[in-house]
């Protein structure tokens, strides 16, 4: 998979655009911060969301992390396998651990997101 094709947010989500469809997950850096994921609250299919809106929650034992929409659109599919095996996010954050697919309202919004090197540099600077 071409990881360089991914776009990133400052809130540690990634977005892969395939035509009119976007796939969303959280970054390697984010899953490390969260540690063992015990539950993912998935969005409802059909929900319309705006860029930056809270769409899902990823939980560890002692914390809950909001996942924000990297781009506006309508949720078309959610990754049901996370319900049975939330640890997928830890084991494979960029592939099997994807969270939802979204039909893009305005693909141009993706331009505002960071590419991989920019995100890496940004995440490094913001590490605490």
């Amino acid at each position: 998979m071409d990881l360089n094709g991914l776009k990133y947010t400052k809130t540690h989500e990634w977005l892969r655009v395939e035509g009119q469809l976007g796939i969303v997950g959280i970054t390697q850096h984010a899953q490390e911060e969260i540690s063992d994921v015990v539950f993912v609250e998935l969005p409802k299919v059909g929900k319309m969301v705006s860029q930056g809106e809270e769409t899902a929650v990823v939980e560890s034992v002692k914390a809950a992390f909001s996942i924000y929409a990297p781009i506006s659109g309508t949720i078309t599919t959610v990754n049901e396998s996370l319900s049975k095996d939330p640890g997928l996010i830890n084991r494979s954050p960029l592939e099997q651990g994807w969270i939802y697919k979204i039909e893009l309202r305005d693909p141009a919004e993706a331009k505002a997101l960071m590419d991989a090197p920019a995100y890496e540099a940004w995440a490094k600077g913001n590490k605490h």
Binding site: V38, F39, V61, K62, G87
Partner: protein
């Protein structure tokens, strides 16, 4: 329910595995009425087809089971319990005897006032004593807990602003506040705004001024705050909020430090709750029950929840609410059994006794802090009130030892752990509150244990990471518990 894992080795069997059909721990008296089939009294489709599968044990086996469980617990009666923000003081045994007096314990909540004069008198006097201690004009005893008190007070604040013709939407909380503050505000439909503490762990007037405006209904403040520090600018803070037409609420969770010294009402607070299970020695009961009476100034009195106790020529009576009351926040009068204990506590201490309590709590906390100086960094190293916060951040940086590891190792030494990882603004926090009822010797042996643990972190860090080693169980897998919840047999 699906059980994905076998139980493994066990400490004490579950009740259901101890049960043997046909055993009895209790036998009802035989009824003197002729037996009839239930179906002649209620429709047959209402009759339960299978009895509820409750285990059947002998009285001996039932007592043995719960006593064996009891022995697996640490408690105030058996161990030092320095849990910050929880005020784990000794719970006088005589209070159990008093609350158990049949005159109190057997009284029906709808018993007529003529049969309830004793309880009504006690509640009436307790309201007044709490108002005196808090410096407030009126007190409601109804809230069942601190969070319930916050909720009650915020509903009153909402009603107050509406009655002024200026509904307000915002509640401001501090970043060091208890989680219940924002949760209660959200439950009341307020927008929650957090204000940052300054470098000395206190509310910064400047930051506060930048968020408090004419849409601010309430500023919620804990004093002393969760770092155990007295809010030095409290008078200016309450003034600032009042100048914008807002109300100021004091989370009285830490009231133990102020008893008889200063009063929330005199500091400008409009409302305050007090946790009687902390400050007034109600046993914490493994999580409850407690009580969260709320005191208010006169301008909020019309909004108090119903009912209140009143006194008149015919004695004491329950009074219905006025038209502006927020209504009822629970059934019946409140956690009366807990309130009886609070009454007994205040009556046994009196004015001087309450002052001894706060002074003892402050002296013990400062002494313990002094014993730990140089061993653990203290978050804000000044004179503290009833508690202080040590941090494991240095040990984390050098050895990878976290506050959690220290907490677990303390159990091995026979001490319950401090509150850890709270408040959120201190890294690897160990929040320590010894309370006034612990002896100097206990504090010294606790400090010794913490010093040993510091030493272990350098010599045998692995021993800490895998602690506890001497408890009935070792570290429990919370990830599995949350991923595949097994919540019943």
């Amino acid at each position: 329910m699906e059980k994905k894992h076998s139980p493994g080795r066990i400490l004490e069997p579950l009740l259901k595995d101890l049960g043997q059909d046909g055993r009895r721990a209790f036998q009802l008296p035989k009824t003197d009425l002729p037996a009839v089939a239930p179906e002649t009294q209620i429709p047959s489709d209402w009759v339960r087809s299978k009895p509820a599968a409750l285990p059947e044990l002998s009285e001996r086996d039932l007592v043995k089971h719960f006593m064996r469980l009891a022995h697996l617990n640490f408690s105030v009666e058996t161990n030092f319990y320095p849990l910050g923000s929880c005020t784990m003081k000794y719970n006088p045994r005589v209070h159990e005897e008093i609350a158990g007096l049949s005159g109190f314990a057997q009284l029906h909540p709808y018993a007529p006032d003529s049969l309830s004069q004793g309880t009504l008198q006690l509640l009436f006097e307790l309201e007044r004593m709490l108002a005196e201690v808090l410096g407030m004009d009126a007190v409601t005893l109804q809230p069942a807990a601190g969070a319930h008190g916050e909720f009650t007070a915020l509903l009153m604040a909402r009603a107050y602003h509406e009655a002024q013709g200026r509904p307000r939407k915002k509640v401001v909380v501090t970043d060091s506040s208890h989680g219940t503050n924002p949760a209660s505000a959200a439950l009341c439909g307020f927008d929650v705004v957090e204000v940052k503490s300054n470098a000395r762990g206190r509310v910064s007037l400047e930051s506060l001024a930048s968020v408090v405006d004419h849409d601010t209904a309430v500023f919620m403040m804990t004093n002393p705050n969760t770092l155990g520090l007295f809010e030095e600018e409290v008078m200016k803070v309450t003034q600032l909020v009042h100048d914008k037409g807002g109300l100021v609420y004091m989370d009285g969770a830490n009231m133990n430090a102020l008893l008889g010294q200063v009063r929330p009402g005199d500091m400008g607070f409009d409302m305050v709750h007090v946790n009687i299970h902390k400050t007034f020695s109600i046993p914490h009961g493994s999580g409850g029950p407690g009580g969260g009476p709320v005191g208010v100034k006169a301008h909020l009195k019309p909004f108090l929840p119903a009912p209140m106790v009143a006194s008149g020529s015919a004695g004491y009576r329950l009074e219905s609410p006025g038209p502006q009351s927020i209504g009822r926040v629970r059934s019946f009068f409140g956690n009366v059994g807990a309130l009886v204990r609070a009454y007994a506590y205040i009556r046994s201490l009196g004015t001087d006794g309450l002052k001894q309590v706060s002074e003892g709590a402050i002296l013990n906390a400062n002494y313990l802090k002094e014993l730990l100086r140089g061993i653990y960094p203290i978050a804000v190293d000044e004179s503290c009130m009833h508690e202080f916060i040590a941090s494991a951040k240095e040990m984390k940086a050098s050895q990878g030892i976290k506050a959690m590891d220290i907490a677990k190792r303390l159990l091995d030494y026979g001490f319950y752990a401090p509150t850890i990882c709270f408040p959120l603004i201190v890294e690897e926090a160990l929040m320590i509150e010894p309370s006034e009822t612990e002896s100097r010797q206990t504090l010294e042996s606790f400090a010794d244990a913490l010093a040993k643990i510091k030493h272990e972190s350098e010599e045998t860090p692995e021993r800490l990471r895998t602690a506890p080693h001497r408890m009935p169980v070792s570290r429990l897998d919370e990830v599995q518990a949350a991923r595949e919840p097994n919540l019943r047999w």
